[in-house]
């Protein structure tokens, strides 16, 4: 039995198999419409996350399965002090597979260690959010044709953004991927990523502070929001949040083949006018998120 805790739990070959299934689902949704008949997905969401939870639910329903669970800790036994270990033992009796989101880092690993059903980490604090990374990889692979030989710009909050960190870890496993990190000085990538991941693996990268200067060199642009909840000080948040706004003027400097991705939700870092640009693929990315979760559920339930 396999779980998904981190995007690196799967080899690139295993990920390719999942992405192949996801692309097949995209082309032939009817073929998969009943593959999970009689199977149940439990969604243990100890903190609210509408998009991720509904994406999982949509994925399971599209496979013919059903869904049960809770959407915040106040409506679960956690409010009575029940441990994650006990909750997962109980949910193992009620369902066939589980997706867990928890504010505490490592909670899904605790669940996986006690579970008799596959556990998917649907986000644990600032630590991991592997299905977002799988979504990003599938989007890039589907639109670019492969996961290699490109320059990707990562823009915004690169210090606290877990999606960015996970994506960097995942992309360095592919050939000829170079990075351009675009952020204010205060929100640059953490030292450990620079030293232990990028430098150690001889990855080509540069760090800049202006999107305009580099946007023309990029094959992909991954935008992120400056998350208010990561700041202790509201003034700092207000000062930094408007730094890197992508608008049509900046898009005019970019290659015609460059795609813009965003893990969503956005606040104001991408102007609404950009939505109509065919290179803006962040809503397609949401659809790929459902496909990849469908492929993941099928794979972990060993139905293919």
């Amino acid at each position: 039995m396999k779980h998904l805790m981190s995007p690196l739990d799967f080899s690139t070959k295993e990920l390719d198999q999942i992405f192949d299934i996801a692309n097949d689902i995209e082309k032939n949704p009817k073929k998969y419409a009943h593959i999970c008949d009689g199977k149940k997905l439990s969604t243990l969401f100890y903190e609210p996350s509408t998009r991720t939870r509904l994406s999982f639910e949509s994925a399971m329903l599209s496979l013919g399965g059903s869904v049960l669970g809770f959407s915040d800790s106040t409506s679960s036994s956690a409010s009575k002090g029940e441990s994650v270990s006990d909750t997962i033992r109980i949910l193992s009796c009620y369902s066939d597979i589980c997706a867990i989101r928890h504010p505490k880092e490592g909670a899904p690993l605790v669940a996986a260690s006690k579970s008799t059903i596959p556990v998917i980490n649907a986000g644990d604090g600032g630590h991991q959010h592997p299905t977002q990374t799988l979504t990003d990889l599938l989007t890039i692979r589907s639109l670019k044709g492969s996961l290699g030989n490109f320059t990707i710009g990562l823009c915004g909050d690169l210090k606290f953004g877990r999606t960015v960190h996970s994506l960097i870890h995942a992309l360095i496993r592919y050939p000829n991927v170079s990075f351009v990190f675009i952020s204010p000085e205060e929100l640059r990538i953490p030292d450990y990523l620079r030293e232990d991941v990028l430098n150690k693996n001889n990855i080509t990268y540069k760090e800049v502070s202006k999107l305009d200067d580099v946007i023309g060199t990029l094959d992909l642009l991954y935008m992120t929001r400056v998350q208010k909840e990561r700041f202790f000080n509201e003034e700092e948040y207000i000062r930094l949040k408007d730094y890197y706004i992508l608008n049509q003027e900046k898009m005019n400097l970019a290659k015609s083949s460059m795609f813009v991705l965003h893990p969503l939700p956005r606040v104001n870092e991408i102007a609404v006018e950009v939505d109509e640009d065919p290179r803006a693929v962040y809503f397609k990315q949401v659809q790929y998120g459902v496909y990849v979760r469908m492929a993941l559920i099928i794979t972990l339930l060993e139905l293919v």
Binding site: S85, H102, P103, K104, E105, G106, V110, D124, G125, H127
Partner: protein
């Protein structure tokens, strides 16, 4: 010159960095064992200048060698039987340690989950970096 008597059966930990013997005493939970222990601080050493030594009279199997390896794997471990050195142990950095140190990350699941062991994994042998198994936070020694 301070003289500490020989021990019949037990362990002598030599070449402990000066000042580290007390924390090693606590990590080994010697305060909870009914054994005779001598803590020698700041002994003269040709190799180190100053060093600490711990002499512990007890069954050697009662001591967790992983703790010593984690604190300092260059410490010399002499196993004493019948009053003589019967064995010298080579220590290595343990690949995994359980309930020796605690994760200090307030966002880690270990901060709330009942009776969850605190497990740290050696993630970088060269730099001797341990990370929490759950949240992957790097352990930073305060010693």
């Amino acid at each position: 010159m301070l003289n500490v008597g020989q021990i019949e059966e037990g362990i002598v930990l030599d070449h402990i960095k000066a000042g580290k013997s007390l924390s090693l005493y606590h990590y080994l939970q010697l305060d909870k064992l009914e054994c005779t222990t001598a803590i020698i601080k700041n002994a003269k050493s040709t190799k180190m200048g100053k060093k600490d030594i711990l002499k512990i009279e007890c069954n050697p199997s009662l001591l967790n060698m992983d703790v010593i390896g984690f604190i300092d794997h260059t410490i010399t471990v002499n196993v004493i039987r019948k009053g003589k050195i019967s064995e010298k142990l080579n220590l290595e950095l343990p690949k995994e340690i359980t309930n020796i140190i605690k994760c200090k990350n307030p966002r880690c699941i270990t901060s709330i989950e009942q009776e969850l062991p605190h497990i740290f994994i050696l993630t970088d042998h060269e730099k001797e970096i341990y990370r929490c198994k759950y949240c992957e936070e790097k352990y930073i020694s305060i010693d």
